[in-house]
Symmetry: C2
């Protein structure tokens, strides 16, 4: 089995300058899994309430996603309501209702503990570690986080980071976590805490991957239509970890291509509300955009 | 003769989180010319007052810059005072004293009119056109502008743009000029007004070049020391136009390498106050950083 992903499965209500949608499928584990499903086998660990529409589960299963770890509990599904202005880089959270997510305590089954690739979506670092500690011997552990945990659970987050290989994080959070304004120095500080690689997501500006030996920068794909940035970071992570799991490698060459596949998946995701576009891709479309990325970024040698 | 550059030569007072300097050499034509001087012959058209230190003229001449078009006029030199916070992307202008620049009316000599490459630095678009109209048959015209002219002289700016080949502009100004929030669509609008190529400067995030056929994105060089961003855009322009003039080409391959050389020059410039570092480079250092840019951006094919 390929990747085990823990995170949220949610019902999102989103408003952007280009429209609004109520209670659509959302959540970090959702976007991640859909993106990763084009590359490898993927199992979701998450919880939903009794009100979670069966057709959403069916649409994940249709993509080959293993939803046997998607627990259904008495109560309501996690809900998020957010809004974007014309600067689509930052979401304004209007409301968060944890609901069944408040008591989420993932218990992995024997075969889930054996997964070789683990993605710890943006949830409480205590929960991330609870999953991590149940794993037998994962080959690669990638992790996401956000300002909320940096502010409210910094010590727990540091403990989680000590056990992960790759941290995916946005640039403002990188500075906040390291308490350092210079991004490169901030990255070096975080690398000293455990992760071997940092993938810094910069929204419409692209991504910067830094480890102790090298740096790799990729612009975001320039798009004429950006409708809803929700899930862009998780789609990126899904393409990134998905490619690494599919090739079972994590050397510099693989990591660079993984960043590009991450950017590809994020670029598709933002072109429609929710994960709609992401869920309707073909691998040929993904490969074509990967090649367009090469055209976008390469220049000849001297 | 290579490039003719018109713009400001100034005395800058700059404060950043890393220090402050009073009345140091500055101005768009200064940064541009110093950066371009590593690539080709460059002549400056600008005006200074009687108070302009002779050693600044000598330091430009030492780099091989032709200062015969640097007029000295009765009165004081143009002065700019600015400040940067920890977000080094945006300067806050505290004071601007036009002084002798207020009556600047450049008159080109016969040999200056014959220059093949023209750079119109960020000055009043009326003045930019006054220079442009005196040129005989320039091979390539590049132009910079800023929010002040977009707001105060939009019609004159549109007239100037109709006559230029390449517009270098930052991303907020691209959106402002086109009155369009989506950067790619904003670029297409501006391209329809005359320029064949737009080079969108994005500060620490890099640059995006767009024409009607292709796009090229380059990250900024990740730096552990950014001390003073003043002149980064003009240093970029100097490397960019300098490379094109040196190779006498402007096809897509040359334009892409020119963007990288622009990024290289900007990356050196920001590492010390004023144009100090920029003025003390060797071509070997420039080439070495160009190769580092390749390492920063390239990934293998599928």
């Amino acid at each position: 089995m390929g990747i085990l992903a823990v995170g949220s499965v949610a019902l999102d209500s989103v408003k952007t300058p280009f429209g609004r949608e109520e209670e659509i499928l959302g959540g970090s584990a959702t976007y991640f899994s859909i993106a990763a499903s084009y590359f490898t086998e993927i199992s979701v660990i998450a919880v939903v309430g009794e009100d979670f529409p069966a057709q959403h589960v069916a649409s994940l299963q249709k993509l080959g996603i293993d939803t046997s770890g998607l627990e259904k509990r008495p109560g309501k599904t996690f809900r998020w309501r957010g809004e974007y202005g014309f600067d689509l880089n930052t979401a304004k959270t209007l409301d968060t209702q944890l609901n069944v997510f408040a008591d989420f305590s993932p218990q992995l089954r024997a075969e889930q503990r054996k997964c070789e690739f683990l993605f710890l979506g943006n949830i409480d670092p205590d929960l991330q570690r609870k999953v991590l500690d149940q794993m037998e011997r994962p080959r690669l552990i990638a992790c996401d986080t956000m300002n909320y945990w940096i502010e409210n659970k910094p010590e727990s987050l540091r403990k989680t980071l000590a056990g992960v290989d790759i941290l995916l994080i946005n640039d403002a959070e990188t500075r906040q976590l390291a308490r350092e304004a210079n991004l490169v120095r901030a990255a070096r500080i975080i690398l000293s805490w455990g992760p071997k690689t940092l993938v810094i997501k910069r929204g419409e500006y692209g991504a910067l991957m830094i480890d102790n030996k090298a740096a790799f920068g990729a612009p975001a794909f320039p798009l004429e239509e950006v409708v809803d940035p929700t899930g862009a970071g998780d789609s990126f992570a899904g393409g990134f970890v998905g490619y690494l799991a599919a090739t079972r490698s994590s050397d510099q060459a693989a990591l660079r291509k993984a960043v590009v596949f991450g950017s590809v998946m994020a670029s598709f995701n933002v072109s429609e509300f929710g994960p709609r576009r992401l869920a309707a891709l073909t691998y040929a479309e993904i490969e074509a955009r990967f090649r367009e990325f090469r055209d976008l970024t390469h220049f000849e040698d001297l």
